[in-house]
């Protein structure tokens, strides 16, 4: 800072000059306390505070990351479960179809005939309430084989068919259905796998042997 310039005091020469009232001599300028670096008091360590702040921040970020990972994982799980559901639905359909095929009346009748069963000849009735027997029940005979028409098996690709081809006179159903069924199947042959020829009910093709399910 600017130094305080000292003014020289007024000198009196002789006594001609009136004695002036001399201002009180100014007190000597205060000397400033020399500045010295004061060692400050040791500050308390607030690293813990900062560190905890950072830790909270990191935890929050990690938490958000984990949440997002869970969500995405859930999404992947859902996709996998949906695929599993789809597979099970298809399997269910396959099995239901097989059951329905076995249940088809034509196939049942054909299987029964193949096992040697015959339609019943006559029926009687037993009335338990009145303890009466009515009707004319007649035992079925083995050669009770009328030339009955054969209703063709359902023409579903890939399903087994147990309806034998008719080896007797061709019924109009069979011949009418045989030719178009053949042409349709041959047209479809490149398209559909596992179409057994037996579904044609061809008149000149020998009756197929009974196939086991699942073939």
């Amino acid at each position: 800072m600017s130094s305080v310039t000292t003014r020289p005091a007024i000198r009196t020469v002789g006594n001609t000059a009136r004695k002036l009232a001399t201002p009180a001599p100014q007190p000597a300028p205060r000397k400033r306390t020399p500045l010295v670096v004061v060692p400050s008091a040791p500050r308390r360590k607030s690293v813990v505070f900062v560190a905890s702040c950072f830790a909270v921040l990191a935890a929050a970020l990690v938490g958000v990351l984990l949440l997002n990972i869970q969500l995405s994982q859930g999404q992947y799980d859902m996709v996998a479960l949906k695929a599993q559901q789809s597979t099970l639905t298809k399997k269910n359909q396959e099995l239901s179809q097989e059951v329905q095929n076995f249940n088809a009346p034509q196939n049942l009748a054909a299987k029964a005939t193949a096992m040697g069963m015959v339609p019943s000849a006559g029926q009687g009735q037993i009335d338990l309430d009145r303890s009466t027997v009515s009707g004319k029940a007649v035992a079925a005979t083995k050669d009770e084989k009328a030339k009955s028409a054969i209703i063709a098996a359902p023409a579903i690709a890939g399903q087994l068919s147990v309806v034998p081809s008719s080896t007797e006179d061709q019924t109009t159903t069979d011949s009418a259905q045989k030719k178009p069924a053949e042409s349709k199947t041959t047209a479809q042959a490149p398209a559909v796998p596992q179409v057994p020829k037996v579904q044609l009910n061809g008149g000149t093709v020998p009756a197929p042997a009974q196939r086991t399910p699942g073939n």
């Binding site: 329905q100 088809a104 009748a109 209703i151 359902p154 009418a176 479809q188």
Partner: protein, 607 residues
């Protein structure tokens, strides 16, 4: 010297200040730019970027509705939609590669190199197609080639595992009919796998087709749905299941039986209809040469309908009981009224004869039915005026199409009485000069069986929703055609036809049966004049103490054995089967034997 030092310091200080200010200014400007851009993009969305991004992420897909199935009265599935796959190849892509990599079956983490031919060979093996065909389809510049249709899901999965380049599978829905030709004409079939064009598939198409749903969601670039984004699903409403009143096993039985008969007699076609008397439900409706809906092209176009409802024929003598009921109801005759009937009867210049020649004999009204006399029918029926004859036939449903959910239902032809010529006004009494379908005849007899109350025929029992709840189809109106006592008397006469009359072959042991046969001359088709062949029919009901079922068997133009009674075997076996399968208790009470001749016997002097 101090002065210069002071200025230098001041100068430096000012320069530093200036630099700092400039730096701050630049930073603030940049901040302003960024902030402004942020406001512009987020706030005002200049350039529509947010919208564009949203549009790019969003997807809306249609969720197809599954077609409802058709089941019979017991729940047997008659028509069903199943998942199948079409195998499609991109020839351009396939031709462009010589080899490709596939996951090693031994070690899924590794891949092995497969040549193009080997890949196609594997594919041909799975599809059971010759390799040359597959290679030919896979070579070319087009981008789409259908290789196979209707492939099973397991095969489709196996095909995808092959990783042949350019091969994809597309899921489709295929309609299958597990029972095939049984009830095939009634069920109908689809066109292009989508809409029904015959039978129940056609008439119930709107119920069977559901409503497709939609799903709008957001998908990321990795092809995965973004979980936190809005995901709206409108679920598809699958088609409802239609439940029919048919019994598939009885339907099969009836179909087999009528087909055998038609084949044996060399007839054009035949039909068997079984209806529940108390409810009007159609239990079986069998025609010959029914199509298999899995392959409708397998039969001629004329066989693809349901003849039981679409073919109108002259009924013949089965119309006589309706006329008898009308006479009873009008009070113009009684079952025991005796008539003296000559061999040929002339009225208004028209002469009528019977199917067998006989001397003049006595028959009661019951006997006229029992012996199916045309002469007697005209003698008694002429007591009704022309208008009365017309009205009574109309009341029995003749000339009006029954309300059945099948396409092409025939109403038959019953012309107005003023259009009848001198002969027709009498021939309608014995069922010639009027035409009706088999179902119409059966429903007329249903009213006689049901104490005079005629119901509407029912083919659709109800609808089953996805949640399993069943909704019954609305029943049509019923109407009292004849009084209860008239119906009883008519039933007695029908029973006497079997017990006393000519048609004892229709009897079923253990049950009381009433029946009537008809042998009518069939007009030639294609507009040719005259008659060609005969229509042989027999219609009956059982058990007569409380009729449960009505069965009609009709054979059109048999080459041999043209009489209605020749269908008695068929009638007996079908009716017997129906009664047995439904556990109908055997008849109690004495069978009715109405006197066919009247006082004094067949040749005694009449009243």
């Amino acid at each position: 010297m101090v002065r210069t030092g002071k200025t230098k310091q001041q100068g430096t200080a000012r320069r530093v200040q200036l630099r700092l200010r400039i730096g701050l200014g630049i930073m603030l400007t940049l901040l302003l730019v960024v902030g402004g851009q942020l406001v512009l993009i987020q706030g005002f969305d200049v350039g529509g970027l947010a919208e564009a991004a949203q549009a790019k992420r969003s997807r809306t897909i249609e969720l197809p509705a599954q077609r409802g199935s058709i089941v019979d009265a017991k729940g047997t599935v008659l028509a069903n939609s199943i998942i199948r796959y079409d195998v499609v190849i991109d020839p351009k892509q396939n031709t462009s590669v010589d080899s490709f990599r596939r996951a090693d079956p031994q070690d899924p983490k590794k891949t092995i190199k497969i040549s193009r031919d080997q890949g196609l060979r594997d594919l041909a093996g799975l599809l059971k197609m010759p390799f040359e065909d597959v290679k030919k389809a896979a070579t070319g510049t087009s981008q789409y080639k259908l290789l196979a249709r209707g492939v099973k899901p397991e095969t489709a999965d196996a095909i995808l595992e092959l990783s042949v380049p350019g091969v994809v599978t597309q899921g489709t829905s295929q309609r299958v009919y597990p029972n095939g030709a049984v009830a095939g004409g009634i069920i109908g079939f689809l066109k292009d796998g989508k809409d029904g064009i015959a039978g129940i598939e056609q008439t119930q198409n709107s119920v069977l087709t559901g409503t497709p749903g939609s799903r709008s969601f957001e998908m990321g670039a990795d092809g995965l749905v973004i979980p936190v984004a809005p995901d709206h699903i409108t679920p598809a409403k699958n088609g409802r299941t239609v439940k029919l009143t048919l019994d598939s096993d009885l339907q099969y039985y009836a179909q087999q039986v009528i087909q055998t008969q038609v084949n044996n007699l060399g007839a054009e076609w035949g039909s068997v209809v079984v209806v529940e008397a108390k409810t009007g439900k159609i239990v079986a409706m069998a025609d010959t040469n029914t199509p298999d809906p899995n392959n409708p092209g397998g039969v001629d176009a004329k066989d693809r309908g349901v003849r039981s409802v679409t073919a109108a024929l002259e009924p013949g003598s089965v119309e006589k009981p309706l006329v008898a009921a009308a006479l009873l109801e009008e009070g113009k005759s009684k079952p025991m009224e005796q008539f003296s009937i000559p061999n040929s009867y002339t009225v208004n210049g028209q002469t009528f004869e019977d199917s067998f020649s006989h001397p003049t004999f006595n028959r009661t009204l019951a006997g006229i039915l029992g012996y199916s006399l045309n002469t007697g029918t005209v003698m008694a029926g002429q007591r009704l005026s022309k208008q009365e004859r017309y009205d009574w036939l109309r009341r029995f449903g003749i000339g009006q199409a029954p309300n059945v959910p099948l396409p092409g239902v025939a109403g038959g032809i019953l012309s107005k009485p003023d259009q009848w010529d001198g002969r027709q006004e009498f021939t309608v009494l014995f069922g010639q000069g009027v035409s009706q379908s088999v179902l119409q005849t059966v429903m007329a007899y249903q009213s006689i069986a049901n104490d005079g109350v005629m119901l509407e025929p029912r083919l659709v029992d109800g609808y089953i929703n996805e949640d399993g709840t069943e909704e019954k189809a609305p029943t049509g109106p019923s109407r009292q055609v004849i009084s209860k006592s008239t119906a009883k008397q008519t039933r007695d006469m029908l029973e006497s036809v079997v017990t006393e009359g000519e048609w004892k072959d229709a009897a079923i042991p253990g049950y009381r049966v009433g029946a009537k046969t008809g042998t009518s001359e069939s007009p030639c088709d294609n507009g040719r004049p005259g008659f060609c062949g005969y229509t042989a029919s027999i219609v009956g009901m059982a058990p007569m103490d409380n009729p449960q079922y009505i069965v009609e068997v009709l054979v059109q133009r048999p080459q041999d054995k043209i009489f209605g009674i020749d269908g008695a075997d068929i009638f007996r076996s079908v009716m017997g089967q129906v009664l047995r399968v439904n556990n109908v208790p055997p008849s109690t009470g004495k069978p009715v034997h109405l006197d066919q001749f009247g006082p004094g016997g067949s040749s005694g002097t009449g009243k």
